[in-house]
């Protein structure tokens, strides 16, 4: 079962020629054939192209290539359907892109290919990354591998489910308000949202440009560090990427967390938090204390305003970004008598309900007479939220919280109540508004049904080494990351 292993385990086996990249790729494809009918993590995948890349990797290995220069040599990595991969379809989980084929690679895809990874598959997602359940896809609902009557989280639900079900070794997702961390928590894998500006977004279809970041889903923390190092760095094609040196993240995983201060925000342990999730996180805090971390109480007083702030800023930015889908240059076109009618009909037919809801809300908060009351005020509250974090980080090296207030909910449970769906992002949203980094990792299970619980660690801007170090120390003192959904394990 090669597909169950981690990048670091496989790298050794590939280097020793115990296994070939073709065998590894084949084991992922077999797993997809066996389980994807039940979970629908993939919108599509091209098996022949994936095997051809595996053969190329095997050739590189036999001609002496090593992971020193090609850290992902022969590792199958699947991609969220919002990132451009040259000559592959790109739909963003939407009908509006029609039969779009990407003419170029996103920077992160170039980086994966330069690291000799096998880049394959289009992973399902909420349309244009708008949602928390992967129910808003024009290509059908993705299901949680731990319980197929439940959602995998979102918007990167396919990316989380595919890693949790061992259909790939790692995957890429994007996180605008929690879309990497929340599905990682609900599917029981590791999901990292880098600091704003850490990873180039060239070739990512923009949702909310002041919040979006690309990050990895992996089976453990060491793999997350390896992936982050490959993905990070300034890019002249993304003017928001930051010229900050890229450290060797894996070198930070030394288990030395003695004396590190972990901030526990009192505002995060109130109403709506499931008792079993709270118990799981409390136990993780105790464990980290045992490992030598110091727990300090902190306050993030504007937490209660984060969801409202986010849904004004994110929808405003989305209404501008998604104006490009107008039926003129690519994708679906529904004809009209004049351009305005063509735009309206195309967008009316091509966008799903949640995307329409958000574009219309964003248009409203930016419209004449309402801009100051909504958008400008939200940007000011964003400053207050960011200041809360900067102040908290004077007392703490990292902040510890649940990733999501509940374990995975039922398919259909919140799909008719957008506000309830939005409130499920309460613990992840502030991180994007503040522009800091965050990671989610498994910290236990609910009893019945048995569903994963996620622990979130938030770090200072460009503080990824610290949160990876803490996450790794915790992970290595538990066995949660070795658990697999029964559906994926059964042969």
């Amino acid at each position: 079962m090669l597909n169950r292993l981690t990048i670091h385990e496989l790298a050794q086996k590939l280097a020793k020629r115990e296994v070939s990249a073709r065998e590894l790729m084949k084991s992922c494809l077999d797993q997809i054939a066996r389980v994807d009918g039940k979970i629908h993590a993939f919108i599509s995948h091209d098996a022949d192209a994936a095997l051809a890349q595996a053969d190329a990797a095997d050739k590189e290995i036999s001609s002496g290539a090593t992971r020193t220069h090609k850290p992902l040599l022969g590792i199958p990595i699947a991609i969220k359907d919002v990132l451009a991969v040259k000559n592959q379809p790109l739909n963003c989980g939407s009908k509006i892109l029609g039969k779009f084929i990407s003419p170029y690679d996103a920077t992160v895809i170039e980086k994966l290919k330069a690291a000799a990874a096998i880049v394959f598959g289009r992973l399902n997602m909420d349309e244009f990354a708008m949602g928390s359940s992967t129910e808003n896809s024009a290509f059908g609902v993705t299901k949680n591998p731990w319980d197929t009557t439940r959602i995998p989280g979102g918007s990167s639900g396919g990316s989380a489910a595919a890693v949790a079900a061992d259909e790939c070794i790692a995957s890429l997702g994007t996180d605008t308000g929690g879309s990497i961390r929340q599905p990682a928590a609900l599917c029981g894998c590791v999901g990292l949202k880098p600091t704003y500006g850490r990873v180039s977004r060239y070739g990512l279809v923009a949702f909310a440009s002041s919040l979006d970041q690309i990050g990895p889903f992996t089976k453990d923390v060491r793999d997350s560090a390896t992936m982050l190092e490959v993905l990070s760095g300034v890019d002249p094609r993304d003017s928001t990427s930051v010229p900050q040196p890229v450290p060797n993240y894996a070198a930070a995983l030394d288990g030395k967390i003695k004396g590190l201060k972990l901030g526990l925000p009192k505002e995060y342990l109130i109403g709506g938090l499931d008792p079993e999730v709270k118990a799981g996180v409390d136990a993780a805090v105790k464990q980290l204390e045992k490992l030598g971390a110091e727990i300090v109480e902190i306050s993030l007083p504007h937490t209660d305003y984060a969801v409202a702030t986010y849904y004004i800023i994110a929808t405003a930015e989305a209404s501008a970004n998604l104006a490009r889908f107008d039926g003129i240059r690519y994708g679906l076109r529904v004809d009209g008598n004049d351009p305005a009618e063509l735009y309206s009909k195309t967008r009316g037919a091509g966008f799903g309900a949640e995307v329409k809801r958000r574009i219309i809300l964003g248009t409203y908060v930016l419209s004449s007479g309402y801009y100051d009351a909504y958008y400008l005020r939200a940007q000011k509250v964003r400053t207050l939220i960011r200041n809360d974090f900067l102040k908290a980080f004077e007392k703490a090296d990292a902040i510890i919280t649940p990733t999501s207030p509940t374990a995975a909910f039922k398919i259909g449970e919140k799909s008719d109540d957008p506000l309830q769906m939005y409130l499920s992002d309460i613990f992840t949203i502030s991180c994007n508004l503040a522009g800091i980094c965050g990671i989610s990792l498994p910290c236990g299970f609910t009893k019945s049904p048995r569903l994963p619980i996620g622990l979130q660690l938030l770090g200072k801007p460009f503080g990824e080494e610290t949160i990876l170090k803490i996450a790794h120390a915790y992970e290595q003192s538990t066995n949660w990351h070795k658990e697999r959904p029964p559906l994926a394990a059964a042969v």
Partner: protein, 95 residues
């Protein structure tokens, strides 16, 4: 109340999204709810607070004004719903 102010037909027109009548009704109700929820931001005193547009304060990122490789013409047109003579075809704009 926010709900009463919200003219769904007008905003959908601004957003260039054609809505069916039942969609219009449902969206107006849902957006009314969401707007009532975001009213809570008015509880905060934001006098003197600077707005944050970007979390990382980067300004005026420029590059040399030089010709660089760009998408070839046929690649740019590859996904067009209607094209001819190397151009996008659009409905008539001027009479």
């Amino acid at each position: 109340m926010a709900e009463a102010q919200f003219d769904i037909k007008y905003i959908a027109h601004l957003a260039r999204i054609a809505l069916a009548p039942d969609e219009e009704k449902k969206l107006a109700a849902q957006l009314g709810n969401i707007l009532n929820y975001v009213e809570k931001l008015k509880e905060l005193d934001v006098a003197g607070v600077e707005p944050t547009a970007h979390a990382v304060p980067m300004v005026n990122v420029t590059r040399a004004d030089e010709i660089r490789p760009s998408l070839p013409h046929d690649e740019a047109l590859r996904n067009a719903p209607a094209q001819a003579n190397g151009l996008f075809i659009v409905p008539k704009i001027v009479e």
